[in-house]
């Protein structure tokens, strides 16, 4: 079987490129021929095509173009594609395409909202409230099969009207090399890694850490990542008294240092709201290291088992809940960490993920033909002996997994 594989690949700085770099070698061990498609090159001839679709037009625009020419299996990495669709329509001077996508998702009201955006009467929806208008419909209409990483995205896809075959395949975990923890400590040391913005609930985290400091003066907060534009991180830190020994701050660190800093932490915090349905590679890496973890109780994060990560509801008590959870996680870091490692090994094992991909692709490529053959033979045999109602035969075949 030959698979045409469409994805951003390194050196593109994209989580999906990293994902594909991890998955491809394992997939090639299970599928006879996997050809990675290149932007601007002729589409590979194949039995089935696999399209990785994320929300970034720069990385995924050409992939959606290819999908439009030849439907195939779509890997929907996020439940919200508004930014992508806006880039592929408005970004290419095709305002009408944007309106069509809005109407596909939200009916005439959506189209009218789209008109407001095009006429600069409304703020840009992909910046202000993309989760309300996910615009996945036009992509899903082209999918012959759908791979998602979470029940959350599966549900969103069904709500968007997708009725075809769907496979939920977990995000694979990176193999863990032994990591020497960096020489930083705290009592406890709380780590938060990645782009620092409102969406990562940083204001709530800072307020919670300030509460923790009152109870545990030896606590330290390690913040690694650039602060978003217009996000007044320094002023917030100053106002809450998080400074001096209680704060370690890095804008950027190289990959190996990032791992050793993560390994030094007692608790990792990876909050997110609103969610676009994304799976967090960073959370999986942290769990792989056996770290106690706090996540927001939304989207894919809600599906992490309760004994693996502490899940923080996004409500008016968020800061206080985080503060309590930081203490709880620090006190039970070893137990939570052991559960985390066990969970990642069992649920996010690369071999299982690659097996599931191979099975999904095999089904997408040949499943219909095989089912048709079986059902045709059932019908033929039934009609030869005068049986007209074959519904029971079909039901049994389906129930036994044969079609």
């Amino acid at each position: 079987m030959k698979v045409a594989y469409y994805s951003p690949m390194p050196p593109d700085r994209s989580g999906i490129a990293d994902y594909s770099a991890l998955l491809l070698p394992a997939l090639r061990e299970r599928v006879a021929d996997v050809v990675v498609a290149q932007p601007g090159k002729k589409a590979p001839d194949a039995d089935v095509a696999l399209y990785h679709v994320g929300n970034e037009p720069v990385f995924h625009g050409w992939i959606v173009d290819a999908l439009e020419k030849r439907p195939g299996v779509v890997v929907l990495h996020e439940a919200v594609l508004h930014h992508l669709v806006a880039g592929l329509t408005i970004g290419r001077g095709n305002g009408r395409g944007y309106l069509d996508a809005m109407e596909r998702d939200s009916g005439v009201a959506g189209r009218l909202l789209g008109l407001g955006v095009l006429d600069n009467l409304l703020p840009l929806l992909w910046e202000t409230q993309p989760e309300r208008y996910p615009l996945t419909g036009t992509i899903l209409d082209l999918a012959e099969g759908l791979i998602v990483h979470s029940s959350y995205v599966a549900r969103k896809a069904r709500e968007a009207g997708y009725a075809g075959p769907l496979w939920k395949i977990p995000h694979p975990a990176w193999p863990i090399e032994p990591v020497e923890p960096a020489a930083v400590t705290g009592e406890p040391l709380i780590g938060c890694f990645g782009y620092l913005n409102m969406n990562k609930r940083i204001p709530a985290l800072l307020e919670a850490f300030a509460m923790l400091l009152e109870r545990r003066p030896g606590a330290r907060l390690l913040l690694v990542g650039a602060a978003a534009e217009r996000f007044d991180l320094d002023r917030r830190l100053e106002r809450l008294g998080i400074r001096g020994e209680s704060l370690i701050r890095h804008d950027y660190v190289p990959e190996d240092q990032l791992w050793s800093l993560m390994a030094a932490c007692d608790v990792l915090v990876n909050l997110r709201s609103p969610t676009m349905g994304e799976t967090s590679g960073s959370v999986i890496r942290g769990l792989s290291l056996g770290k106690a973890m706090l996540v927001s109780d939304v989207g894919w994060f809600s599906e992490i088992p309760d004994n693996v990560a502490l899940k923080i509801p996004v409500d008016r008590h968020e800061s206080a809940t985080i503060a309590g959870a930081l203490e709880l996680a620090a006190d039970h870091a070893a137990t939570l960490g052991a559960s985390a490692q066990h969970y990642v090994r069992s649920e996010h094992d690369l071999r299982h993920v690659a097996d599931a991909y191979a099975a999904a692709l095999e089904m997408a490529a040949g499943g219909d033909a095989v089912a048709d053959q079986v059902l045709w033979r059932i019908s033929e045999a039934a009609s030869e002996v005068g049986l007209e109602d074959t519904s029971e035969l079909f039901r049994q075949a389906r129930g036994a997994g044969l079609v």
């Binding site: 079987m1 040949g366 095989v370 036994a400 997994g401």
Partner: protein, 339 residues
Amino acid sequence: MRIAVCRPQVPFVYGGAELVADQLVDELRVRGHDAELVAVPFKWHPRARVLDQALIWRLLDLSELDGPQIDLVIGTKFPSYGIRHPNKVVWLIHQFRQAYDFDRTEFGQFSESPEDRATRLAVERFDDVALREARRIFTISGNVAGRLKEHSGLDATVLPPPPQKLAFRTDTYDDFVLSVNRLDRAKRIDMLIDAARAEPSLRIVIAGDGPDRERLQKAAAGIEDRVEFAGRVDAETLTDLYARCRAVFYAPVDEDYGIVPYEAFLSGKPVITTHDAGGPLEVVSDGQTGCVVAPDAGEIARACSLLIGDLGMSKRLGEAGKSIAARITWDACIDALLA
């Protein structure tokens, strides 16, 4: 109890799997149960036919009949365990290995075409449904249990079936090595023939018949005086061959179970097998009950020569095997299956 024992039947082929199911029916009847064999012809070529066969079993509903109820069904090998019944026990002889460990090997049957790949997957899904319905799953060997765990994620209890009830005995330790097996490429009888070619003093007798006979006979060209093809033999001839041989060769590729070593042991004879033979390795231990060597004609020749040259060793290893084989009984099997 009223019990239906289910097995597929490749027409005109009779091997270990058929023997186990037939004996089970006999032994159940001996113990006062009302047992019946349910057999359906099995055909697996061309590839998509395998799904039709699975569906046929699925459509056989033995959950209730007019009149007396069937209390228990026992499925054995693919796809007979797909039968529907509220009290289903599986005594797994093997899954459809072409869809699993044989896939993408010389023994597989599914190509890389999308249809073949999807058919293989459908077999996997069928197993998932059919085997999970079973109240309990037993396997005929640890090897089969291991594969079931690996491929379907299911746990099973190992329950080896006893060999056929023949008058096994020990007469002599003549200077020939016996092969008892279906003449099939996967049974690797050609390794024994090659061993005979490599060791000019080695004499072998090959009992059994099958599709590989012509190829094997060609392989024995020039050494016909030391390689005897006995063909399909009756029970009396079989027990006689066991009773007189020096040792028994049995080295299929990753065999499910292997009843032959038990028959050899009951005849007081050691077994020569290979590291990759699968099931036989659960009872054949090197230097304890036989010789376990690399799958190589030279190594097999050396093992045969060792046993031919050392009568005491052959007797000692064979006797040790006899005590192992004697522990496998129908009473234990039936107690477990009906529990």
